[in-house]
Amino acid sequence: MNKELTRQQYLDLYYYMRLNRAVEDTMVKLFRQNKIVGGLYSSLGQEAISVGTAYALEKKDWLAPMIRNIGALLVKGVPARDIFTQHMAKYTSPTLGKDGTSHFGDLEKLHIVSPISMLGDLIPVMAGVAIGSRYLGQKIVTMTWIGDGGSSTGVFHEGLNFAATQKAPFVLILENNQWAYSTPVRRQVPLENLADRAKAYGIQSYIVDGNDVVAVYVTAKEAVDRARNGEGPILIEAKSFRRMGHAQHDPAEYVPKEQRAYWESRDPIALYEKFLSGEKLLDDKSKKEVESKIDALLAKDRDFAENSPMPPPELAEKGVYCTGDDCHKIRPKWERPLAEVTPPKSSIAAVWTVEGFGAGKGSGGKNAPIHFGDTAETAPAVSPPEAEEEAIEEKLAPRTPVKVVAKKSPGRNGKNGASTRSSKSVGGKSAAKSVKPAAKSSAGANGKSSDARRAPAGKARR
């Protein structure tokens, strides 16, 4: 784990962060020219989170962005022009103008689920994609994002708890940008670290400096690998700061000047450039090349969007219902034998055993099976051997995961309210197997690349 990235990976991360910012800069211009019909939400200063986390996914994996995750969409392969046309409500946009912003998806090729504006709803949905794919035999991981604000919704709890009970291969990135519109995180959640919420679900968690793209990537990669290996859902808290207002209309005057200044000095792209130059991975020439490549691409995509037509009004009437096979052929992609999920192979006894329940004299010291209703007598004769039955139950009715959260405390609240001074701390799995700081991680706070502040890992917290 945590081996150095390849040169290409380092440069990819750079490219996507620059692209993310350039796309959003372009949209700010479009917004000021009144070419964006609705709101415009910025991820300025949070690009390392979207890019670093999504970069840890494989092509077959699924993601669902929230409003500040345009970077994740770009990494997954969404062309910039789709983002422009969406915001400009054009007929050429992925939703044909029916929705805006990052509210679009692609079930077939890119495996992206569209968000809705209500926060947290994506969590059970992506848990469902994860367990559905697992059922089909696909070894995929799903990922979505939630803010510090969104972590207070009821469905965050329902979704994450359900994902945990199912051991869903699901990674949730909690972007703690410290502001939910105008409400600071301190007034939303009485926790120093929002990753602590993971403990309530018996799942693993990490805390990472969200302005350190390498640390974000390495952490996310480890989490994605672990989720894929069946360890269950993982929560990553990425600490960062929302540098713009909630949306373009909001000057965010409620944010303390010192806090803003602190985080502006820790711009994730600037930090990364410094790191890359130090590692001789980037010089003025290659930086120029990236810039011109992006400029050319975005000029083209912006032209496309600006010259695209608006949708025909009658389109508003269309598409409420799927009309059947002519509209969508819904066919799961099985990657396991169907015999495994159909009788008689799927048949089991509907009996519930609880560790320690009835483990007394009456049951001969064994766990007593709990039968409900008529099911005891009518358990089919085709029941598989007990061992197999137990294996199935173990897999599908998992108990609380044994391992506890790797948990660290990357920083304290400064007196000005700015939290998280930590640099690229990367979460470790356990005390025994401590993970090195993000190797060759980019410059963290103060630009020192070696001051990873690691938390005491899991067992310290037990």
Partner: protein, 333 residues
């Protein structure tokens, strides 16, 4: 007698058995069909509608969940995105409102907004008359009939329940399927042995008549038919139509009947304000005003929560006598 495998040798099946058969047969036919809900597995569902499914289809296909309706619907939605066809059980349909946002904002809008169909079925026991009290007796169908993108089914017979549930599972859209719990064990019907479906969006004429049309669905269908029998003795021939699907509504069948009878009475167990009767009245005013010889009348529950105590609940619910009285009043026009 009930069996655990969903098949029944008795040719007369209850409403409940019909539901069970539909789920069993759909799961047997198509491994992409899964069941998810509270206590649907080991326990076989609060009303035993999923009894035997876990034994047959296993833990991966019959998923017991935490008490988290939003998670149930959300997860089902996610599963449908990878090509599965989940059936979600709400233990009592009253609890569907806990997942209101998931259903109305996520599931219902997906196809329209981003071309993402969500072929899920949300089903559960609904309706009053069994002293379930204010939180176990609801008829929340109209919250959802008001939501474009959903289909809403509310059958009244075992035959329809089975055929419509199968059609719902095979439909590419999110379908809400209400099962009136008063009917679960009270009515029996012979149903065909083989596979069949009943089309969604089609009403059924249950009784032909010429003096007035009674439009109803679910448990009130049976009261309406009872009323029609009584009315016939007084030479009032009521045509009784079972709406079966509330969204999309079968306007064609309704309009055809109204053209013939010129009088309309809508009977539903749902409360009056905002019930489907009001919508039907509006449609008739728009499309069949000149066919009407009298006002469109309604027999519905009162505009109150469902009260618990039997005399209160009986007073709250519509009944056969109220249907007869209102029909007579209408027939005078």
């Amino acid at each position: 007698m009930a069996s655990t495998n969903g098949h029944n040798t008795d040719s007369q099946v209850t409403f409940l058995e019909a539901i069970k058969q539909a789920m069993y047969e759909e799961m047997e036919r198509d491994p992409s069909v899964v069941l998810i809900g509270e206590d649907v597995g080991v326990y076989g569902g609060a009303f035993k509608t999923s009894e035997g499914l876990l034994e047959k289809f296993g833990w991966e296909r019959v998923i017991d969940t935490p008490i988290s309706e939003s998670a149930i619907i959300g997860a089902a939605c996610g599963m449908s995105y990878v090509g599965l066809r989940p059936i979600c059980e709400m233990q009592f349909i009253d609890f569907i409102v806990c997942a209101f946002n998931q259903i109305t904002n996520f599931v219902a809008k997906g196809h329209y907004l981003w071309n993402a169909p969500a072929p899920i079925v949300v089903r559960g026991p609904s309706g009053g008359g069994v002293h379930g009290g204010p939180f176990h007796s609801a008829n929340p169908e109209m919250y959802f009939v008001h939501t474009p993108g959903l289909k809403v089914i509310y059958p009244s017979t075992p035959y329809d329940a089975k055929g419509l549930l199968k059609a719902a599972v095979r439909d590419n859209n999110p379908v809400l399927f209400f099962e009136h719990k008063y009917l679960y064990r009270r009515i029996k019907e012979e149903i065909p042995a083989g596979d069949y479906t009943v089309p969604i969006g089609k009403a059924a004429v249950r009784r032909e008549g010429k003096h007035l049309t009674i439009l109803s669905y679910a448990a009130m269908m049976h009261n309406s038919l009872e009323a029609a029998d009584a009315l016939a003795k007084e030479n009032i021939e009521a045509e009784v139509i079972d709406l079966r699907t509330l969204l999309p509504l079968d306007e064609e069948t309704i309009l055809k009947s109204v053209k013939k009878t010129n009088r309309v009475l809508v009977v539903h167990e749902d409360t009056k304000t905002g019930g489907i009767a009001g919508e039907i009245a509006a449609i008739l005013c728009e499309k069949a005003f000149s066919d009407l010889d009298g006002p469109i009348l309604r027999v519905t529950a009162l505009d109150t929560p469902v009260p618990y105590s039997p005399p209160l609940e009986q007073h709250f619910l519509p009944n056969t006598q109220k249907v007869i009285a209102t029909a007579k009043e209408l027939a005078r026009y």
